[in-house]
Subunit: 343 residues, 3 copies
Amino acid sequence: MGLTLGELAVRFGCELRGDPTVMVDRVGTLAGAAPGALAFLANPQYRAQLAATRASAVLLDEASAASCPVAALVHSNPYARYAHIAALLHPEPPAAAGVHERALVDPSARVAASASIGPGAIIGPRCTIGERVRIGPSCVLGADVQVGEDCRLHARVTLGPGTELGARACLQSGAVVGSDGFGFAREGAGWTKVPQLGRVRIGADVEIGANTTIDRGAIEDTVIDAGVKLDNQIQVAHNVHIGEHTVIAACTGISGSTRIGARCMIAGMVGIVGHLDICDDVVVTGLSMVSHSISTPGVYSGGIPAAPAALWRRVVGRFKRLDALAERVTRLERGAHSSNRRT
Amino acid sequence: MGLTLGELAVRFGCELRGDPTVMVDRVGTLAGAAPGALAFLANPQYRAQLAATRASAVLLDEASAASCPVAALVHSNPYARYAHIAALLHPEPPAAAGVHERALVDPSARVAASASIGPGAIIGPRCTIGERVRIGPSCVLGADVQVGEDCRLHARVTLGPGTELGARACLQSGAVVGSDGFGFAREGAGWTKVPQLGRVRIGADVEIGANTTIDRGAIEDTVIDAGVKLDNQIQVAHNVHIGEHTVIAACTGISGSTRIGARCMIAGMVGIVGHLDICDDVVVTGLSMVSHSISTPGVYSGGIPAAPAALWRRVVGRFKRLDALAERVTRLERGAHSSNRRT
Amino acid sequence: MGLTLGELAVRFGCELRGDPTVMVDRVGTLAGAAPGALAFLANPQYRAQLAATRASAVLLDEASAASCPVAALVHSNPYARYAHIAALLHPEPPAAAGVHERALVDPSARVAASASIGPGAIIGPRCTIGERVRIGPSCVLGADVQVGEDCRLHARVTLGPGTELGARACLQSGAVVGSDGFGFAREGAGWTKVPQLGRVRIGADVEIGANTTIDRGAIEDTVIDAGVKLDNQIQVAHNVHIGEHTVIAACTGISGSTRIGARCMIAGMVGIVGHLDICDDVVVTGLSMVSHSISTPGVYSGGIPAAPAALWRRVVGRFKRLDALAERVTRLERGAHSSNRRT
């Protein structure tokens, strides 16, 4: 499907600098786009690629527009405009409404007529599936699951009993929502399993990445608020609460009963200890260990960059003797002090 | 289902302080329970919530019983008692015995009459499935798998060829047991795959979390002993051996051929190098790197708590120059020594 | 199936020291092998086990051959020879060619006659499946997927739309290839999803571990070159490029748009930041954070070994006050300097 730059400018509220009759029918990168494609420039790191672009037009902000060698669609938030235009130019292939003959829907479930249930999907008793929902192949929904309108489950997603999904939630393949939390009571030589009775409640517009796991609560629920975006292979333990619009990158793990505020940005491979309270607007950089509650918004770090191995070994050796080093400094200070008194 | 406090006290060996005819029919948290619910107090951190609880009764130990404003069920291990009572009050919905018409069971497999095989499950040649086993939807069992009585496989679990599961093992969704170990021999410019011929043997009462992976052995077997509890997204490489009643939290990875003793407690996101020997009764705290064998029981740590980013950057900068700092101290010590001799 | 040592020596180019008529019919470890088995010695760490082996023959190199108490098959690369012989002695059970009656293949897909499509597998529109490919139970292939000859997909693998697999690629259970990259544009209070339009292209002879995830590119493709070996639970973000014959161990995560060169060896639980360029022949040891590009081949480290908790606490306390310690040393140096001038 093609659109003129004039149509795009009007529809998406951009200022057009260039020929409004030029057509674009796809998106491309600044460096890789061929004529007919629309590129965008949002990260200043890539501005050097602007001069040589072969795109028919570029979406960018005012500051970059002057250097654009082709037609420019100017907007103060070019990346978000790009997201909307890309969705328009590259619509997903439609899914046929209805229940595939190889899906299995419990007779007590209610499935909206416009929903699409893929082959091999299994929908448990008393589930409700909203309008235009797409359930991919081989998904498994336990009993009493509620899926809000326009949700999208890719292939092989599991939703445990009682899970609630708000509207427009999107779950990637292999995600497991509602597995048992990890609760065991020590008894004798071993461990007795503590029944996990809570559910997982997920708000609207939430994204859940591939092979991410979210455990059901022990007694009360695990809660993911609206607008939260979770990347792949994230682990969310029982009774965690994640606030609105918080974004978490891949491979991060959050231990049980921790609360994370709204609008936080947690980078990849971060480990967050249980029973903490992280306030709103906290940024945590990659590979950090968060072992205490955070009550002040701001940026927190805990990762140490890798170094050449020989240097690293030396520094780690010193690190392990840091206590002794500090004591040597203390002795020197005492000596200097007495020496000063003597002179 | 409701029970009186009198019945519970008798059945679970608790001392009752309060009216034996009071009924409870569910569990709840101290803070969230309504009348009719039984709460528990096991973690002293929550003792402040006791005074205001609306639960009909609370399970707790002798030390806390005096401050309990409602009926008290007193036991020295209230959390384990809670686990048993919760299982009684909230029984899992029964699974219909038999093989679902959309399951596929190889004719050479033996399935106990009381077992339940869910829709989409695939049971390979010569498998044996014990009494009262529940195999969830879309599980895949390769050839020659043995599943002990009362095992529970949630949806979409994979068991590779020859896997053995002891009685009462519980596997969460997405777990993969018996995938090929990561073995490659360097040859010319590339790598030649080394056939992975061992199996995975899992003892009784083992829990395996969602999307956890356990590789089959290269020649001999990967072994998980009885009572081991593995959380979500754990990686267990080929030929690892984990001893009885060891508990491992989410996102931890164990490299090939490492042996972990009995009754260990390994926290989350710990990385354990290959070919190590960790003795019994070792505790490892979160985000630690275990790169040497451990022969003394005790607590080991390797994680550094995150700090505000500006402070962290300064400290990391110092860390990288730690070797130079130590040399500066050595020079000062030499100077102090010669200065002392001079005076 | 049994073979004589004479046949093995000829077929695999080894020098035989011993009776060529001795038969072996399986492989075993040095310590565990019984008569009839062939063992190997590749890691000098295990040389002590050679003397007591009960194997009928041992594959080893010239340096170890003299101490071999049984027949020896001598080769300069015994581990790679072992890999080939083990594959011959332990052939995988053949898969029946054809599409299982419980598989679902879109009429527009082309499946080679010698390919095997397992029960519950779903093959989307316009897929092409090469000769002798084995697609395991419950795999899901989206539209336009191309699978090269002799590929092996174990159970429950997902390949998103447009994925390309080179010949002989092997994917373990639960792997997800072609999930959406994690791309969101900030807009108002929340985040707008950026359509992920690229694909994943995977070269020949690539291994992908259990529950590993590889996201499709945002506009251009995510690319895994030939001969790359990825272990379990690895996360590869959108637009990453991994060069030929690079090997990556379990639980490592690679952020978006990073390029990793050829013949690299990345250990387990390493975190690699986005938009970096790692050159060829780089080795990264376990639990490292790679936060800067690397342009010099060599070994890089970033992990700190765990220590007894009491010691660790003290050292971490010192670590956090490292800046103050360095300033104390600076003050001492100034004092020593002025004191030297005074004397």
